[in-house]
């Protein structure tokens, strides 16, 4: 090995502790930007923060008596915030839709309703409940089969979801709102709900995505 090559090599060796220091600084930086991160190796793979939930009344059954009746509502979710406040109420728009009886299980009153977050699982736009097939084919690039029924449809990249059909989603079982057109990778995120005293209560929301 030539003399100056050796010097360069030694220089390269001394850079190892410097690199180690840089990695430690980077880890501190991550914790600075994301204060909920725990220390050590575990912190690097910690699950992302999930928003908290609370019970809120969003609709009365008397508003949803006919097939395809629907209601838009806003659910306030306790979002984690990296600030001295630590928590923030984020507005999550939602839909509750009354399905016609042929798509429901007569023994299960909850199966008459589809309750979803209106946040498109593709890239987060608020999607619509579209009743007319002309609007679907004209505005959303989807020609529904006849006889038709309403669909959820997103204006951003034209994803269309069929509320009457379900798709298997990892770890969560079948969820309503099968994607029938457009780039969305999965059905809309759901909300867990209960029916009590003629009212629909939201008890929690599926995490992930950006509120």
């Amino acid at each position: 090995m030539k003399e100056n090559q050796r010097r360069i090599f030694l220089k390269a060796i001394t850079s190892i502790p410097i690199l180690g220091g840089a990695v430690m600084a980077a880890s501190a930086l991550i914790r600075y930007f994301k204060p909920t991160t725990v220390g050590g190796v575990k912190g690097l793979v910690a699950p992302p923060d999930e928003a908290g939930s609370s019970v809120q009344i969003v609709a009365a059954l008397s508003e949803l008596t006919q097939p395809w009746d629907f209601k838009e509502f806003i659910y306030i979710r306790k979002s984690v915030e990296y600030s001295s406040r630590k928590i923030q109420g984020a507005k999550i728009p939602g839909f509750v839709v009354r399905l016609p009886d042929e798509f429901t299980d007569p023994k299960d009153p909850k199966s008459r309703f589809v309750v979803v977050q209106r946040i498109c699982p593709h890239l987060g736009c608020t999607f619509n409940f579209v009743k007319s097939p002309e609007e679907l084919s004209g505005g959303y690039n989807y020609k529904p089969p006849m006889p038709t029924h309403p669909y959820f449809a997103c204006p951003c990249h034209l994803s269309v979801y069929d509320p009457t059909r379900k798709t298997e989603v990892n770890l969560q079982g079948p969820l309503p709102g099968k994607v029938v057109s457009g780039p969305a990778p999965r059905p809309p995120r759901t909300m867990s709900f209960d029916i009590k005293d003629g009212q629909i209560l939201i008890t929690g929301t599926e995490g992930g995505g950006v509120g």
């Binding site: 360069i8 979002s79 915030e81 600030s83 890239l123 204006p155 951003c156 057109s181 990778p185 992930g208």
Partner: protein
């Protein structure tokens, strides 16, 4: 191949030193704002781009600092503080606020345009050759920094467009956690949740809110100031002139931006409303084409491709090993550059006018992109034949053509036959027939059962998912397998053949050096 191994081992042992030397050489040659091109800038306006871009950057920073004094970075006040800056801040008849805002906004646009032109100039003239790679990397990085500054600055006005553009951008990284399981290490990456963590760091929490505005404000400032500190250190150590343009040119640039700010006061839109998505959602002009690209793609693929584009540009720069820099002698690179510009314009036009047929367009785009590459390749091939006085088969780069053809046809097949949603549309037309057939066997058959049958019997031609083999399923082609095997095969054979050639060349070089050294040794 075998001949290459000893050279490879020796090369690897010396790699850290070699790399350090390589790095130092390029570091010395690196230019920030075309400071080494003062002579050329006198006669060729393309070489003033660096100086003009730096000047515009200064204007943006100055106007930004002025705006900072009156801007309120809080969600429920941001929009109104901008309104007040725009309309109430005047000196007599002079709408100062509106002018400063216009200067900042149009200055930012000019920043992006100039930085883009500069990257294009370097690309088309092969300026990154002969050890100038870092100059190109810095130029590209600055363009990206400018785009991120635009994105973070855009949210600050807290209007509808800004909110939704930010939402799309923040949802993006979450797809980095959805690598398909067959990708080596894919599950591991998913397990680390890097994508969601990135999104949450950007947003300062799990949703867009006050913390997001605070963070974007900080990032917006940092993105300009941190590079600026490094640049000033370099200028201080080397003592070169920052801008190779005359004072008149500076005044002219300032005048043009100011004139635009007077004629078209910076727009403000309507206040952000998380409950209503505007249709169509748009963003700053430089992201529009990417938005259209998103429409046509599986979101995972789109995310990976978007993240990969700068790396692809850098990668092809390092692949461009030939010394030629003239226009007609590197046609592939010209076609890639021109193609990029054309797609940018066409896609922006399409999204502005809401034109897209998701079921028809994607393969067409793939084919046209492949067409650009092929056209460039064929021209380049013709040039190499002429240069080296060789016949066509002696210069035919089978790997490149195979690469393009495989990916073009695979993508087309995927979109026409494998798209799960496309199949759903077809399947729904088929449904009544299937239902009738099922009902012959079982009078109680429901539409759901018919759908299930269709799903099970869909040809398994899909890039990501292939359902398990079921009874009655027609033999499908596992497309992703074909794709992966073909590409790995092409790359592997390229490496084997390339290494073999490299070994032979090294040997020849060594022997030539030996032959040259011998007479001298004999003489001594």
């Amino acid at each position: 191949m075998v001949k290459a191994i000893p050279y490879l081992i020796r090369g690897l042992a010396g790699a850290p030193g070699t790399f350090l030397k390589w790095f130092q050489e390029r570091w010395t040659k690196m230019e920030l704002f075309d400071e080494g091109r003062t002579q050329q800038a006198r006669t060729n306006p393309w070489y003033t781009l660096g100086g003009m871009w730096y000047w515009v950057w200064m204007l943006v920073i100055l106007s930004g600092v002025v705006l900072m004094v009156y801007y309120v970075p809080v969600t429920d006040q941001a929009y109104h503080s901008i309104e007040r800056i725009q309309h109430n801040w005047r000196w007599g008849p002079l709408p100062i606020g509106s002018l400063v805002r216009g200067l900042h906004k149009y200055g930012a646009d000019a920043f992006i345009i100039l930085a883009t032109l500069r990257v294009y100039r370097m690309w088309f003239t092969g300026e990154y050759k002969q050890g100038n790679e870092f100059t190109f990397i810095i130029a590209l990085l600055l363009l990206i920094i400018g785009m991120y500054s635009g994105l973070t600055g855009y949210l600050l006005i807290w209007n509808q467009r800004a909110l939704w553009a930010t939402k799309v951008m923040a949802t993006f990284p979450t797809y980095l956690d959805q690598n398909p399981g067959w990708l080596p290490g894919g599950d591991f990456i998913n397990w680390t949740n890097q994508g969601k963590t990135t999104a949450q760091i950007l947003l300062g929490g799990t949703s867009i809110g006050p913390a997001t505005v605070t963070r974007f404000y900080a990032f917006h400032f940092m993105l300009s100031f941190i590079p600026m500190i490094f640049f000033e250190l370099r200028v201080y150590r080397r003592g070169f002139k920052r801008m190779n343009i005359s004072h008149w040119a500076k005044l002219a640039v300032f005048g043009v931006i100011l004139a635009i700010a007077i004629m078209i006061p910076a727009a403000q839109g309507s206040p952000a409303n998380p409950e209503v998505t505007p249709n169509p959602i748009l963003s700053d002009w430089y992201f529009l084409a990417m938005y259209h690209f998103l429409k046509l793609q599986d979101p995972y693929l789109a995310t990976v491709l978007t993240v990969a584009i700068p790396f692809l540009v850098l990668g092809s720069m390092f692949l461009d090993r030939r010394p030629e820099r003239e226009w007609g002698k590197r046609q592939i690179f010209n076609w890639i550059g021109i193609g990029g510009l054309i797609y940018f314009i066409v896609f922006s036009f399409l999204i502005l006018n809401g034109i897209a047929d998701l079921h028809r367009d994607a393969p067409l785009w793939y084919f046209s992109m492949g067409g650009f590459l092929l056209a460039g390749y064929l021209q380049d091939w013709a040039y190499v034949m002429r240069r080296d006085q060789k016949r066509w088969w002696e210069t035919f780069h089978i790997f490149f053509v195979a690469f393009i053809l495989v990916s073009m046809s695979a993508n087309t097949l995927y979109h026409y036959f494998g798209d799960i949603r496309e199949w759903n549309v077809l399947g729904q037309a088929e449904m009544p027939k299937v239902l009738a057939r099922l009902q012959q066997a079982n009078p109680l058959a429901t539409p759901d059962m018919a759908f299930e049958w269709l799903e099970k019997n869909r040809p398994a031609l899909n890039l990501w998912f292939t359902s398990k083999k079921g009874p009655g399923k027609p033999p499908g082609m596992e497309l992703w397998l074909v794709h992966v095997v073909a590409w790995l095969g092409i790359i592997a054979s390229g490496i084997v053949i390339g290494l073999g050639r490299w070994g032979r060349r090294k040997e020849a070089e060594e022997q030539a050096a030996l032959a040259k050294a011998k007479p001298r040794a004999a003489g001594a």
